[in-house]
Symmetry: C2
Subunit: 304 residues, 2 copies
């Protein structure tokens, strides 16, 4: 099935204790689409870049069979830039600088062919733009979205409207607590589920992810890695693996949702092994399967 | 099999956002022995209390068939007191006050019958006292210990000697990083395993536990609870369930170690549901089994 993603495409300058990447490829839609490309038949990308966007990055999308009909290029403008830093903790980025550039007037307009997409991911963008995208897709089977503290504080009503319209919300634990105004994660999840989404996935960095639905909780660990170089994009790679797998199997039940979460965790674990998309864009499917099985070995225990 | 525990027995005054317990029963050996009592044939307790120790607490040990021949009572002294507070995070206690009292001259001397114990847990006490206990047990099949930042900083050499002599180290993630002087938990674990123990269990509060051995890593989640009243004793309840289960099955292999970690996590999850040992001391084995199965439901996913 076709999978639509709408989000940012960026040039990141990232510093971690292990090195620095300058003006490297980044952005939520970038990480998502490359991660999803290993699973979904077709990934349809909607985003905007400036005239300065290096052609080699376009090549990367094409190499991954990502449909870029919806990738708008504003020749007169500059690509969105983000500059951030991580300390040894690696769980939270400190944003040093943001230049929205062409992203500030981003107005997601879907090519006709994209409107048929049955799987939809709204990356972390203005909730009003998220509505605009949902208005354009015809009959999605599954919709998911991300958001961040900036929108939780700045546009709570618009965000609530997004939540009424999506099936799945994928956010981190701090955002979960902030959105629900509730410190306990289980009670926070219940509150958020009452607002619309039938599934909430809480990303917890190195601690993995928790999935909440009406009757189930699923806990997936973070993959214990000896070397983590750059956590940028891990959450979007997770979402890409998750939605990509579901678009591929096209059967949304508890079994596949859990598998999808492990595939999401798998893609996130590869993402952080190198800067930018250096690792994520050079995977083979057997490598992905091998890590999935490693997650199984990591968590399995016998019944009593 | 018989399981020996040596540690503190305390009267705690604990404040959490959800209430306060004043001079309630606490201490590492207390939580450990009650948790272990649901599994092990016989739990042998070594500790010291003062003349002020309420007889009802002695009754509690006896109700759980805990052998208190090694529980020394110093009639002239006062029982160890700890006063602490938790904020909404609940992952770390702030110690407000400590009165070691009779615990300051604690000199663990094992009754003759205890020396035959085959399973041994050295709770968080001076590593020199840990050596003293190991010198007294005859032929233990499995030994495990806990420690804390105070000993890591204050008695690193004595602690290293303990580590050379035990099979399993059970500490929290902050202590793991501090002990290994290494921020990455996987590399920290490798370093610590090279010093002696063949298994390291890293407790991560609400995020569960990670087990490291030469060839395996096992990740157990924290149980997602809607109400957590008091995290005091969770780590020792974990250790009690873990060692208690192994002493019960008396076969130490990967399968049982993983099961033991889930039983440990189970006991920790009950512990935090109420103040002091209010929940932990009132369990039935079917309740324990039910939560074990809930851990299975929480973590299970299908192979691909």
């Amino acid at each position: 099935m076709s999978l639509l993603v709408v989000g940012s495409i960026a040039l990141d300058t990232v510093k971690t204790p292990f090195g620095e990447g300058r003006e490297v490829l980044g952005g939520s839609a970038t990480y998502f689409s490359v991660a999803a490309s290993y699973f979904a038949d077709r990934v349809c990308l909607v985003g905007v870049v400036g005239g300065d966007f290096p052609p080699k990055h376009i090549q990367l999308f094409l190499q991954h069979n990502i449909d870029i009909e919806g990738l708008h290029k504003e020749d007169e403008g500059l690509t969105f830039r983000w500059k951030g830093e991580y300390n040894y903790d690696l769980n939270e980025a400190v944003t040093l600088d943001t230049h929205l550039n062409v992203f500030s007037s981003f107005n997601p307009s879907l090519p006709e062919a994209y409107r048929e997409c049955q799987y939809v991911f709204l990356a972390n963008i203005d909730p009003e733009l998220q509505h605009q995208v949902l208005d354009q897709v015809k009959q999605p089977r599954l919709t998911a979205c991300d958001t961040m503290n900036y929108w939780i504080q700045g546009k709570p009503q618009a965000l609530k409207k997004t939540l009424e319209r999506v099936d799945i919300l994928i956010i981190n634990d701090g955002e979960t607590r902030q959105l629900a105004e509730e410190a306990n994660i289980v009670r926070a999840a219940k509150k958020i589920l009452s607002w619309g989404p039938r599934i909430l996935i809480v990303k917890r960095g190195e601690y993995g992810a928790l999935m909440f639905s009406a009757n189930n909780i699923f806990s997936a660990p973070g993959f214990p890695l000896e070397y983590i170089f750059d956590p940028t994009g891990a959450g979007d790679s997770f979402a890409g693996g998750f939605m990509g797998y579901l678009a591929n199997v096209d059967t949304i039940d508890e079994t596949n949702i859990r598998r999808a979460i492990i595939f999401g965790s798998t893609m996130a674990s590869f993402c952080v092994e190198d800067f930018s998309l250096n690792r994520l864009s050079n995977l083979t499917y057997p490598e992905i399967e091998k890590r999935y099985k490693a997650f199984k070995a990591l968590t399995h225990f016998e019944d009593i």
